[in-house]
Symmetry: C2
């Protein structure tokens, strides 16, 4: 076993080509074993094995600096930089993150999990080197869909003028997460087909020197080319053509399904989940399917990651012209949707909470300022045990402090579908809906609310003394808190579903004053800039006491939901204790 | 006079070339007169006169749709679409905004004032047309620096795959706001020099059909080319070479100085202001000048608009390699700065408040998650009478709800300079400083505060009953409130300078409870997601009453500061009235 001998990149440099090929197989096995056990990015890492070996053979990390884009292609890099046990020893599978992590190794420069960042970051690294008058190679590894993001372009446009060493390896695997979208990808295809000789060359047009490697899974070719660009004195792009999923036949064929894999992927069919249970995703798919048939102006839009929304290849095909995946280009997705709505179409734009962060000015200027009536669905919003790079707790402060946008928090299926349809059919506001991340709750009763009457909270159960405002995902937590308050403190609390996260029902809040002493707010997002603070502000000049419950402003990294709930006092018991404590204080006054 | 006869684009179509040339001169005069009287975008509008005439001659607005990027080049368009009086009649100079405004005319599709948006918006307009199975031309006019922004690229990358009519006019005037930056601009230069025949062609590489117009101020050439692309069935770029500032000799020569002009520009030297009065800008320039000389790792960075920060051409030249203008590319600016800091350099990144909105995910992921110790200066933050597209009140909720970032609000020169130097020299946090937009206040006493002790508020004057937290710009308002509270209500209020907008001094807030009933917060930004709400949250479970003063979450459009202060209760008198009212309520309890 070659991997056994590899404790640092120094050891890679001692190998000959045939040993490196053996090593590639062993690294692949590590990726397969680990992902099959705990899940993770399968295809991207299988595709980049040879590139990573060649990089460590030719360059001299950590003196030479590697910047990985998205960094979900860093598993082989981790295995070559002292962290192989994270892949070979099941007890250590959870020791290292799935992304580059400076706290783990000097070979990792940045904590990165969103795409399109590497060229900008590498440009900064190179410029710092130049300011300090030092000498080494700065290498960015980008690809796998990242090139469609505006930050990547801004980075390329600036990197090309650097006047010193920067090496940008473009890993072109002919696919992003799903299909590639955009003119650039046509150009990459031309370049592949002409072995880099096509007349049109995006990278050359931006001022880069340019090399092409036909077989990006051939270690020898890679080494040859990397040696040519090593210590180069100007910006260069090395365009390599790799096979995503290489070494796992079904992943080579069905690249989209194997981009990210669940545990057990090797033992089962990894294609679209065949579960028929109803979920918020499935009812959304049904709605869009029906609505697009009924109205040719309805169009579903997303920015990469269609799988998050259950948009399978078949489903996308079915929607036809009434579907656009803009690729990883969230800014464009928002402006495009705004213009569609402005011109009478009915766009339904979906984002994963963590990725809506990739657009703000477009939400504010292109969308909200123009008051374009789009529907924006935010998925996966809420506290999770995710990696710090993929937290989904910031969408509420991001979206809800922008004027004009109506941000809704449904609590069950009927409410959600009613909101969705209202939003699609209305023409007054940009509407965002935070799709619940809970299991589907159905009341079985049609929701007849008129959501055009903005900021009208719903009193679900009327009580006194304590009022609970349970937002969206946390409405059910509110129900539990109500039960325990009754049981433990004999309080018959009022339970409220606020519905709107972007405005207050001042009439209702005012009325609560008459027979309530305490209002508690429960929200599944960071408290800072969120919903609860607006309630606190409202009651600031009154006798009403307010307790805000939600997540702390921080970047927890793979901390379990249970631990976070405890940390943030988000269990019915801890909330009840806080209420009890406050009641005791009040009685002493 | 030809302009006299022009009441709509229909009238333009009746003219011959020589009449159109006369018209161009008359439009230019309108631009000159208006800008000279009330200020505005001079160079961009002088340069685009002929293009606009040709567009209206060839195309059929509003059936054909025009989307203007930034839309600061829309003056000639306004003059041809029923709004000429806004330029010929001084009484109506303020009737129309300086940007496209749908509420003014059916010929304006979007309210736009930030750059790089037109291609995305036009793509949405074109797609809506296709969904509705209608036929007309969709024309985007981009240029003047906008092409360096990521949103423009995301738009181009998607527009090129549209498979139907979209016409993108690239107004290449060889300059952005200041110099152009980036590889793309080199390519534009090559294309200009080869009359569009250069081997490398950025637009073709993205899949566009391509036309070049050598003299973009020649109406005849423009009409000829526009006629060629009219009703085209696929995406096309028309690259036109225009002269920014055309018709005003000094503006043709010194394009940067005449990009935006103050009233009176024609009667005086419009080069860098020669005032020697000390200001927050001037002390920053002095600091950076000194610091870059002392330490080669210090580097000043901005994303376009160097004039906002007083970075004159001479100053930029002096900083040399220790200065980067990345062009309009705010996302790159943040990631680049983060990487510089990560590698031991000391970046000082400057943004105008309204434009920091153009980057969020980079602040969160590239910067805050990596805890890179950059210094970020936010200029012009605060309530103003600006156009709705250039409000500067959202930076506080945007920045301050991101973990790890320290956002400081200095209140005088000594404090500011101490914070600035602390920030540049420390290596623990990303630090943002909201440069006061007030006149410079100097205490004359060196500030010895240790800002590394985070979230320590300063009690400036100790009193009782009412505590005033006056943030940054509004500290002086707090001083006035204190005086009036004394005078009117005989209250000796405590005056606090909170310094930090990203964390609370809980010890101090707790201590205030002993002899204060009311805390009032004053902040020069929207209240939603801002500083005051955090204070309200903190006191939610206590007897302390809190009043938050700041701007409402809305997009006021050219409303005077005075009117806004009245609307938001931001005068000492109105605040005092609110306090008095609350005191009366309290005394009744």
């Amino acid at each position: 076993m070659v991997l056994e001998k590899i404790n640092s990149p120094e050891d890679v440099k001692k190998l000959n080509i045939s040993e490196m090929n053996v090593l590639a197989g062993e690294i692949r096995q590590g990726v397969l074993d680990k992902v099959n056990t705990i899940g993770g990015h399968m295809g991207p890492n299988l595709g980049i094995v040879e590139t990573t070996i060649a990089m460590h053979y030719v360059f001299n990390s950590p003196v030479d600096k590697f910047v990985f884009d998205v960094s979900h292609q860093c598993y082989p890099h981790k295995m070559l930089t002292g962290r192989k046990e994270g892949f070979t020893n099941p007890d250590k599978y959870l020791t290292y993150t799935g992304y580059t992590a400076p706290e783990e190794s000097a070979h990792d420069l940045f904590k990165v999990g969103h795409t399109s960042t590497s060229v900008s970051l590498a440009t900064g690294v190179a410029k710092a080197r130049d300011l300090k008058e030092e000498k080494y190679n700065v290498v960015a590894l980008i690809g796998d869909g990242s090139l469609s993001g505006g930050e990547a372009y801004e980075g390329l446009n600036n990197a090309s003028t650097l006047n010193s060493n920067i090496i940008i390896i473009v890993n072109d695997n002919d696919i992003s997460i799903a299909e590639n979208h955009g003119g650039l990808y046509k150009n990459l295809k031309e370049l592949r087909e002409t072995e880099g000789m096509a007349e049109n060359n995006f990278f050359k047009s931006l001022g880069f020197d340019y090399y092409f490697v036909k077989d990006g899974n051939n270690i020898e070719s890679l080494i040859e080319t990397f040696n040519k660009v090593k210590d180069i004195d100007h910006p260069v792009v090395v365009h390599i053509y790799t096979l995503k999923g290489k070494g796992l036949a079904p992943a080579e064929t069905n690249k989209e399904a194997y981009h990210w894999s669940l545990p057990g992927v090797l033992n089962q069919n990894n294609s679209a989940s065949s579960t028929f249970e109803e979920s918020y995703t499935s009812v959304t798919l049904d709605y869009i399917s029906r609505k697009t048939k009924e109205d040719k102006r309805v169009i579903a839009i997303n920015a990469g990651t269609p799988g998050v929304f259950g948009y399978t290849p078949e489903y996308r095909h079915e929607l036809g012209k009434q579907y656009t995946d803009v690729g990883i280009a969230e800014e464009h997705a928002v402006a495009y949707s705004s213009a569609l709505a402005n011109q009478g179409a009915k766009p339904i734009l979906s984002f994963m909470s963590s990725f809506v962060q990739r657009t703000y000015d477009q939400l504010s200027q292109d969308l909200a300022l123009n008051n374009s009536p789009i529907t924006m669905l935010i998925y996966w919003g809420g506290i999770s045990g995710a990696d710090a790079t993929h937290l989904c707790t910031f969408d509420v402060p991001l979206i809800s402090n922008i004027p004009n946008i109506v941000y809704l928090a449904p609590t069950n299926k009927e409410e959600y579908l009613k909101m969705l349809d209202w939003s699609v059919e209305q023409d007054k506001y940009p509407v965002a809906i935070r799709v619940p991340m809970t299991e589907l709750v159905s009341t079985g009763v049609e929701d007849r609310t008129d959501y055009s009457v903005l900021n009208k909270f719903k009193i679900v159960e009327e009580g006194s003394k304590v009022a609970i405002l349970g937002v969206g995902n946390f409405f059910s937590l509110g129900e539990k808190v109500k039960d325990i308050l009754k049981e433990k403190l004999d309080i018959n609390a009022t339970l409220i579903n606020p519905v709107y996260m972007t405005g207050l029902d001042e009439e209702m809040l005012e009325a609560l004053k008459s027979n309530h002493d305490i209002v508690i707010t429960l929200e599944d997002n960071v408290l800072d800039g969120g919903f609860g603070e607006k309630i606190s502000r409202y009651y600031g000049n009154s006798e009403m006491k307010v307790l805000n419950f939600g997540a702390k402003k921080e970047f927890p990294d793979r901390v379990s939901v249970e631990a976070l709930y405890n940390r943030y006092h988000l269990t019915p018991e801890l909330i009840t204790k806080d209420v009890e404590k406050l009641l005791k204080t009040l009685s002493r006054i």
